[in-house]
């Protein structure tokens, strides 16, 4: 039943989409002053249909309806209800349906929220958004229909990938999608404004909300993915430069650049073309993310689906969209009225431009590292693997000028600023940060020359952003986000500098001495839990005068047969103690990895600060009347 309901509502949504494309195209060419009421009606019908379709898939997962092929492949009756529901988007077909759902809901909200905008602009936004929606609808119906039926009906499902059974991961895709899909609205709206020629401060104010919303969701989405990797994958880090992590980071860099540029557009009516280019690029990167993840072209732990026909479709669709936007950009370029006469070196505009350059640099490094291996394999068949050394060596040195710029850029004035008289506050802060860095650096042995300016500058920036809370006149949301960012950089640097680990094979009763700590494996208990077998080890870590216990676990799932390691992590405000173990062979020995990671929790907290700033800005903008 739910299979038919879900399937046919998708067809109705497709009909609605085709109707809206033609209708909006015709209306945009006629000089209608008002938006036809049918638009809101048909869009709401479409949204309802896609919602019905999505929830019939959720229902099929909840009642374990194995006549549905997607449910059969990804669910199991023994699975807890929460993971049955999250299983809906834990697979290729369901996750695309979720994409589609968010796409249509966002368009609907956009329509409700842009009453004051020009009619032609709204019509064109609907047109472009519906082109994207219909593209996804056809993609789902042709290559990844989540409502394929099975007969005879199997009695049991094949189970969800157990490493996906984690609360952070269950909500990570929807949040990330909200960010990705939000960029589609920015894309459609910027193309529409390009054609209707209304790029300016008013449009910037209107689109800034969408930029902020997408940016906040993208930030939180990346954070959740990172938390999942840290707690669940048990690799003992928060970022692995895995291609799939990278494809979520690339639109983030671009969106961060856009976030700053759109402020210039709003305040100074400048950088119009650059704003449009960034909007198009951000969305193209989000779509490429979908392509790279869903086509199986990347070798990564995340690529679950592996079907070239799907890849071909997304690739063609992506390039049609990019081609369309380039054509629109080049043929409407003359409509942009550049009002700005002069740019001064010492001004907020220039500072934001510098920020953009850095973002573009970071973006290019990650882009090259992610797709160059694919290119190389195609061009001469050689396989290379790009790992963290590449990214670290290219990114970290450039953090030094970036941190310097960030410490004074935000406090510059619009249009033209003067070199101020010598500021004693700044000097005091700089010396304090030198002092703190000296204390920190004497405690570590591996003091490379590079780490000295990095630590000094990150602490300096941290202190400056704290000072700004009391002194600067800029908005509170900016202060919080910038403070969060400097905290993030400081935590990452200190974490990297002071982390240490040992790796050893131990059997029950063994002790290892490491950095004045004694790590002892006391026992391993085997128990049967719901849908897996659990081996729980009990470790004792004794410091000079204190001791604590850690209980890492190995889970053996039967459906499908998978072994996962659950690290046990003891988190305090100052450091994380991370312990994970693995089965080697049946000879009683286990492979044990113990890691000491200072300030780990501050990486998460600071990212929450960053997104909190954005969130505050969204709320504040809603109050403003314009």
């Amino acid at each position: 039943m739910s299979n038919y309901l879900g399937n046919y509502s998708l067809y109705i949504a497709l009909i609605a989409s085709v109707y809206l494309i033609f209708k909006s195209y015709l209306d945009a060419n006629s000089e209608n002053k008002y938006l036809d009421k049918n638009f809101v009606l048909i869009t709401s019908i479409q949204t309802i249909m896609i919602t019905v379709s999505f929830f019939s898939l959720v229902a099929a997962f909840v009642i374990s309806d194995f006549s549905n092929e997607t449910v059969f492949n990804n669910s199991h009756t023994l699975k807890p209800l929460f993971y049955k529901v999250s299983g809906t988007w834990g697979n290729h077909e369901g996750s695309l349906l979720l994409w589609l759902l968010v796409l249509s809901i966002f368009l609907f909200i956009f329509l409700l929220n842009s009453r004051s905008q020009d009619t032609k602009y709204k019509l064109l936004t609907i047109l472009f958004q519906q082109i994207i929606i219909s593209g996804f609808l056809v993609f789902i119906l042709l290559t990844s229909n989540p409502f394929k039926t099975l007969y005879p009906i199997p009695s049991e499902g094949l189970g969800l990938n157990p490493i996906l059974q984690d609360p952070a991961l269950a909500i990570h895709p929807p949040i990330l999608y909200l960010g990705y899909v939000g960029t589609s609205i920015i894309f459609s709206a910027s193309l529409a404004s390009m054609i209707s020629g209304n790029i300016g401060d008013k449009w910037a104010r209107h689109i800034k909300k969408w930029v902020l919303i997408s940016w906040v969701f993208l930030t939180i989405g990346i954070l959740l993915g990172s938390i999942w990797a840290y707690y669940e994958l048990g690799w003992g880090g928060f970022w692995f430069w895995d291609p799939v992590e990278n494809v979520s980071l690339m639109p983030w860099f671009c969106l961060t650049a856009l976030l700053h540029t759109v402020i210039v557009l709003q305040k100074r009516n400048s950088f119009q073309e650059w704003t449009i280019i960034l909007s198009i690029t951000t969305f193209s990167l989000s779509m490429s993310g979908t392509f790279l993840v869903r086509s199986g072209i990347l070798n990564s732990i995340h690529t679950f689906a592996n079907d070239p026909s799907r890849g071909l479709y997304i690739l063609s669709f992506l390039f049609i969209l990019i081609l369309m936007s380039i054509l629109i950009f080049f043929f409407n370029q003359n409509k942009i009225s550049n009002t700005v006469k002069e740019n001064f070196i010492l001004s907020k505009e220039t500072a934001i431009l510098v920020n953009n350059w850095f973002m573009m640099f970071f973006l290019s490094v990650v882009l090259v590292g992610t797709i160059y291996p694919i290119f190389l394999e195609v061009l001469n068949g050689s396989k290379i693997s790009v790992g963290s050394p590449f990214y670290h060596n290219l990114l970290i040195p450039f953090l030094i000028p970036f941190l310097i710029f960030m410490s004074f850029g935000p406090s510059l004035k619009w249009i033209k600023d003067k070199l101020k008289k010598f500021n004693y506050n700044i000097l005091i802060i700089f010396f304090v940060s030198l002092l703190i860095s000296y204390v920190i650096l004497t405690k570590t042995e591996n003091s490379f020359l590079l780490s000295i300016p990095l630590i000094v500058l990150s602490i300096y920036l941290l202190l400056v952003t704290i000072k700004d809370f009391f002194v600067s006149k800029s908005s509170i949301s900016q202060k919080i986000s910038h403070f969060g960012f400097s905290l993030l950089i400081t935590s990452i640097l200190l974490n990297g500098l002071f982390s240490n680990e040992f790796n050893s094979n131990m059997k029950v009763g063994d002790e290892r001495i490491f950095n004045e700590k004694v790590v002892k494996l006391k026992e391993v208990n085997v128990t049967d839990v719901d849908n897996y077998k659990s081996l729980k080890a009990s470790f004792e870590v004794t410091n000079k005068n204190s001791s604590f216990a850690l209980y890492p676990e190995v889970r053996i799932y039967q459906q499908p047969l998978t072994i996962t390691s659950e690290a046990d992590i003891k988190t305090t405000l100052f450091s994380d103690n991370f312990l994970v173990f693995n089965i080697i062979k049946d000879d009683g020995y286990y492979n044990v990895r113990y890691q000491y990671k200072p300030l780990m929790i501050w990486i998460w907290i600071s990212t929450i600060f960053i997104s909190l700033g954005g969130l505050l800005s969204v709320i504040r903008k809603n109050d403003q009347k314009y």
Partner: protein, 176 residues
Amino acid sequence: MIKNIKFLGLLLTLIIIFIILLKGLNISKNYSNEKLKSKVDFSLNAKKLFSDEIINISDLFDKNSPSVLNIWASWCAPCREEHKFLMKLKNMNTNIIGINYKDSAKNAKNFLSLLGNPYSEVITDNDGTKSIEFGAIGVPETFIISGKTNEIIKKYIGPLTSEDLIEIKNLLKENV
């Protein structure tokens, strides 16, 4: 003029990227890991599907030529897809051993009488443990096993394709 050059340059770059990514899609990601090459435990006992008689699985393998081992179930849709390829293999006098994975005997027999039986013998695996002994992670899966050394020559995860079929034919010839 400059605008046109910019436009054409961008277009050309896009087309090149498109072609490269398109080619990238076709590079096969065959995860059949050569390092996984391992031996089959010939001491396993199993029950036959048609006669309920318990046998040692080593009796099923041909000592002089490689055999194909296929894990299937009547409820598995991809198994139905690959069935025609198994029939082709059978017509070339290949010894195909079937493992019927978590299935009811009635459905399994119906499946075979409806579509044809490519297997020289089918053993049952009601709880899925036998398949795990072979290192399988799901259905369908196909193994090429040498009868002489009981080594797994190649493993195919998922339904067989026509390309796989050609490869299997060659493997069977090479390993006689």
